[in-house]
């Protein structure tokens, strides 16, 4: 167990280093001279040279990579050109907002996808199974921005059941100001007992989270169906049925738990994918998350901010994978052997 953990951690660390190097390469490829951007439009050649020296651009690439890495480790992720604030500060606000959205979406995915997958596996090969299978494929193929436009237009603009955009009613900031601890609005509102903001956030959250959830619901359903029906075809399931357990009971009691591993692995993958998919939904619902920040950064060719977004999503993915792998060793003792 200990050795497995150490090896897995070392592997994750290696990937993180690779992610940083790759981000550095992408950032270095950017057109335009970072020194020119730093020194401003009316800089003299001497100013430019000074800026280049200050930014370390006169040093060899390897030295620059070293500087970049040590900066990252010390929490210096650069300064955003369009907000004029440290990138780490911007991310500390945008990332939790995205996490709130994607986390809620994944809760929907688990609550809807797993029961649907179990249903399909229970009636494997029947019309029910066919309908669930087609429906889940349909959900996974739906372009998320189109779904966002349709849902927003129908349930917010036309029917008025939900707010059109934003994270919560900004008027509440003056009547019941929110104390920030985690920067995840709904969590902070909950732990400080700020019910007006909590309810407003929940109300604003449902539509975009459901839209983000469409793809995860589709793939979680497909994976649950495949894994559980596979497990149910094994000898142990045959024995359990012979012992008199009803088919549905066999699925829930014996076939589901061993299927949790592939489902969890999938969730880690889907988490990172949804974080980026949410970019499109955020821009339509004006959700103050990473996506909105990324789009604004892209428009202003804000290298440091784009690198920051890229890094934090990749890091979140590596960490999610790591957590899932560790969780698996607790859920499934067979993992430890390998």
């Amino acid at each position: 167990m200990g050795r497995y953990l150490v090896r897995r951690l070392a592997q994750a660390a290696l990937v993180v280093v690779g992610v940083v190097v790759l981000t550095f390469i992408v950032v270095r490829l950017l057109p335009g001279d970072p020194a020119a951007a730093y020194a401003g439009p009316r800089a003299s050649p001497e100013d430019l040279a000074r800026a280049r020296e200050l930014l370390g651009l006169d040093k060899p690439v390897i030295a620059q990579l070293g500087m970049y890495m040590s900066g990252l480790v010390q929490g210096d992720w650069g300064t955003s050109l369009h907000t004029r604030l440290p990138v780490t500060h911007d991310l500390s606000i945008a990332f939790p907002a995205s996490l709130e959205l994607v986390g809620t979406a994944l809760i929907f995915a688990v609550l809807i996808g797993i029961p649907l997958g179990l249903l399909a596996a229970r009636f494997f090969g029947s019309p029910v199974d066919g309908a669930v299978r087609l429906g889940s494929m349909f959900a996974a193929a739906f372009p998320v921005f189109l779904l966002a436009l349709i849902v927003q237009n129908t349930f917010a603009t036309k029917l008025g059941w939900f707010p059109v955009a934003g994270e919560y009613d900004s008027k509440l900031d003056s009547t019941s100001p929110l104390h920030l601890y985690t920067n995840i609005t709904i969590v902070d509102a909950f732990i400080t007992g700020n019910w007006p903001i909590f309810l407003s956030t929940l109300h604003h959250l449902i539509l975009p989270a459901l839209v983000v959830a469409a793809y995860p619901i589709g793939v979680v359903t497909q994976m649950t169906r495949a894994a559980v029906s596979e497990e149910a075809s094994l000898d142990h399931a045959r024995l359990e049925r012979a012992l008199g357990f009803a088919p549905g009971q066999v699925l829930r009691r014996f076939s589901f738990r061993p299927s949790l591993n592939p489902i969890l692995t999938l969730l880690a993958l889907v988490f990172a994918y949804s974080l980026v998919n949410a970019f499109l939904v955020e821009s339509i619902f004006n959700w103050p998350g990473l996506g909105n920040y990324a789009v604004a950064s892209i428009r202003s060719l804000d290298t440091a901010a784009v690198a920051g977004v890229t890094l934090i999503v990749a890091l979140a993915y590596v960490i999610a994978n790591l957590l899932v792998d560790i969780a698996q060793t607790f859920i499934d003792p067979r993992v430890r052997l390998s």
Binding site: L22, P31, M137, A141, P143, F145, K158, V276, N277, V309
Partner: protein
């Protein structure tokens, strides 16, 4: 006396065996057939676009402000956009763009990914470890994210989008091909290949590669839908194809602010993305079910 090339002496080479096996099985797969039929229609429409659309000049920069934002009618089946271009015409021409993207990304990714994967899987050892660690790094970036970063770095257009998606897509094929190649190189007929003194390069490309293709082909059709969605997302954000190219994602984004009053500008290109992605997914799912080795040869 004719000289028989050494390869022909090798028994049990399963090269392309899946083709004959697949034919019978695929026919019984409703999902595969449905996906294939829809895709065929899309391909035919894309090829015949200039002849089956009422206003082919609208596919590019045609401007007709008098007829802007007309609702769907018998003249304009899908209505017209802000500058008066026929949405139906542009949706049909958009199929060309999407198919071009899918075809380019898949062929580039397969050439890079499978070659690298087969070499890694066959060679094993530190070469395999090195290649796998590199793919680990690339796979830590969701496809759209790395494409986003790259599309800012490079001038945003169709070529950049294709390149950016390829950069994020090849590692999947490398992993897949490496796994298959490793298992193939352990089989008896590969011992025969080695015993005959065939060079490693020849062994890889003549014997390992063709036998690794079945799972790759299944994966290709499963991935095509994802590539359509990723490309559409990039152009929706303004980082893919640019005006006046008829591209579905771009068309949706051009109509998004009008959705309440002129839904057709965004809806029809959006539905085209959905149908194309869904058809590719059905094709892939059908293929995967049909070629599932667990089903055995007789079923």
């Amino acid at each position: 006396m004719t000289i028989i090339p050494p390869e022909e002496l090798i028994p049990n080479d399963e090269r392309f065996a899946f083709l004959s096996l697949a034919r019978g099985r695929l026919r019984g797969q409703k999902m595969f057939v449905a996906g294939a039929v829809v895709l065929l229609v899309i391909v035919v429409m894309a090829i015949l676009a200039p002849w089956i659309t009422p206003y082919p000049q609208d596919a590019q920069g045609g401007v007709d402000p008098v007829n802007s934002l007309l609702a769907p009618s018998s003249q304009h089946w899908f209505g017209t956009d802000q500058v008066g271009r026929d949405v139906y015409t542009r949706v049909v021409f958009g199929a060309r763009t999407s198919l071009l993207i899918v075809f380019s990304v898949l062929s580039l990714s397969v050439i890079i990914g499978v070659t690298l994967g087969v070499i890694a899987g066959y060679a094993g050892g530190w070469i395999r470890d090195l290649v796998m660690r590199v793919t680990d790094v690339f796979l830590a970036f969701p496809a759209l994210l790395l494409s986003l970063a790259l599309c800012i770095v490079l001038e945003p257009d169709l070529k950049t989008a294709i390149l950016a998606i390829t950069v994020t897509w090849w590692p999947w094929y490398t992993r897949l091909a490496a796994g298959v190649a490793a298992s193939i190189s352990g089989r008896a007929y590969m011992d025969a290949v080695r015993a005959l003194g065939i060079s490693p390069a020849r062994a890889v490309f003549r014997h390992v590669l063709p036998n690794s293709l079945t799972p790759v082909i299944v994966q290709l059709s499963l991935d095509a839908g994802g590539i359509i969605l990723t490309a559409a997302a990039l152009s929706f954000l303004g980082l893919g194809a640019q005006e006046p190219t008829a591209e579905w994602g771009l068309m949706v984004s051009q109509g998004q602010d009008l959705f309440t009053t002129a839904y057709w500008v965004s809806l029809y290109p959006g539905l085209a993305i959905l149908i194309a992605a869904f058809a590719f997914n059905m094709l892939g799912e059908g293929m995967r079910t049909a070629l599932d080795p667990r089903r055995g040869f007789t079923s």
